[in-house]
Amino acid sequence: MDADSRPVRLRIADLVAATVRAPRLDLRAGQGVALRGPSGSGKTSLLRAIADLDPNSGIVELDGQPREGIPAPEWRRRVACVPAEPAWWAALAIDHVPAGDRGSSIPGAFGLTPDLLARPVELLSTGERQRLALAIALARQPDVLLLDEPTAALDGSSRAAVEAEIGAALARGAALLLVTHDAAQVRRLGLLSVAVVDGRVAETP
């Protein structure tokens, strides 16, 4: 299907947050956009603003529905944001996986065995924690994925597994906004590149 004919999943217009502004950014169903720009240019701030984690103004719509009309907890379940350095609020890894998502095959695909999930998070390696955060977000099948350097801490095989699941999410119609410095990853996932310079996001065509 031609990208332009697909419905707009995430629509952003005149978004203004403390350190970033996005005049127009549309993500269609199944479309992925890579944000590129130097460190400190506002890429992470943009993801946080879309996730509604920082105060911001402007128009943000999901499938034509304004964000203000969707309760914030539901918004964040449907628009999943995974920071570059995930953080944890419970002791055990498994306690971070919602009961309804524990049947998902994604943790297993990421090498997160039941034995590993039963461990305290602090005993997991950096890569295992990164995979856990991504698995939790992907397992709930969100409409939009906001991923901040998701494979920076992963080895080759883990990165391939993560990219396969991201591809699967795109194939089922999710939209993706990805912060990455990996040009090869942008090509592998077939993403459109959008520049972020000095806190301003270039407009999508």
Binding site: D52, V82, P83, A87, H96
Partner: protein
């Protein structure tokens, strides 16, 4: 029998402060200035309070009682802010601290006056003012601690709280651990005081009554009543302050708002 010490004998009590000062100079502890200022403040403040209480108790004017209680609450609200490392910005720091203290102390004092002690009139300043002051002072300590502990916990665990919010947790669920820790910190002094009273320490009020010639059994009854009231008011104030902090440091979009802190 009560013994009424004159001013000279009261002043003799300060001899140990002078000894402390000498010790501090000898050992280079550097606490002379702070102790001297604190002692001077205590003398001036209590002397002034004595004068004010004399007028309030003599006139028994409701307006004067309200004014006294208001000044006490305002000073306590200032003290709460002074004890914060990072207080809420703007009027919120004073407002939340003052309102929760006033709420806890007023509810409990009115209950004690109306149901337990029943003086005539019910607002008799001989009972109302000291009771309110004692309850307010303890609530102040608890509320200052809960507000400080909540801010410290939220700023330390900011990333974990935001991760929970990103997973779709409502703000009060994401802040629950911080609320619990802060509430525990706020209640530690009164819980410890209740546990240790009569075994490790004799409370100041009870000791004061006994020294002034009161029957020990009556002093104990008073002390138990006051401890219940203090614990009740502190608990009420701490709970409301913790919830108020959680509400102020988050918003209706379930965001963490540490930008609402000063500095």
């Amino acid at each position: 029998m009560s013994i009424d010490p004159d001013s000279l004998h009261v002043a003799l009590g300060a001899i140990f402060l002078v000894l402390n000062a000498g010790l501090s100079i000898l050992l280079g502890l550097g606490i002379v200035r702070r102790m001297a200022i604190a002692a001077a403040r205590m003398v001036v403040q209590l002397a002034l309070v004595g004068l004010v209480l004399d007028v309030v108790l003599t006139t028994r004017s409701p307006a004067l009682i309200v004014l006294t209680v208001s000044v006490m609450t305002a000073v306590a609200a200032y003290e709460v802010i002074a004890r914060q490392e990072r207080p809420l910005a703007g009027i919120w720091g004073y407002g939340l601290g003052g309102a929760t203290m006033l709420f806890g102390a007023a509810v409990v004092t009115v209950f004690a006056l109306g149901v337990q002690l029943r003086p005539d009139p019910w607002y008799d300043p001989r009972f109302a003012v000291p009771l309110f002051g004692m309850i307010l002072g303890n609530a102040m300590t608890g509320i200052a601690l809960v507000m400080n502990a909540f801010v410290a916990d939220v700023t330390t665990r900011r990333r974990a709280i935001e991760a929970h919010l990103l997973a779709g947790a409502p703000r009060m669920l994401a802040l629950r651990a911080s609320l619990r820790r802060a509430a525990t910190a706020g209640l530690v002094p009164i819980v410890n005081a209740m546990a240790a009273t009569g075994v490790v320490s004799l409370p100041g009020m009870m000791t004061g009554q006994i020294l002034a010639g009161a029957d020990p059994a009556q002093a104990v009854r008073y002390q138990i009543m006051v401890m219940f009231l203090i614990a009740g008011a502190t608990g009420l104030g701490v709970s409301v302050a913790a919830w108020g902090m959680a509400l102020r440091l988050s918003d209706s979009r379930h965001r963490l708002r540490v930008d609402r802190l000063r500095g």
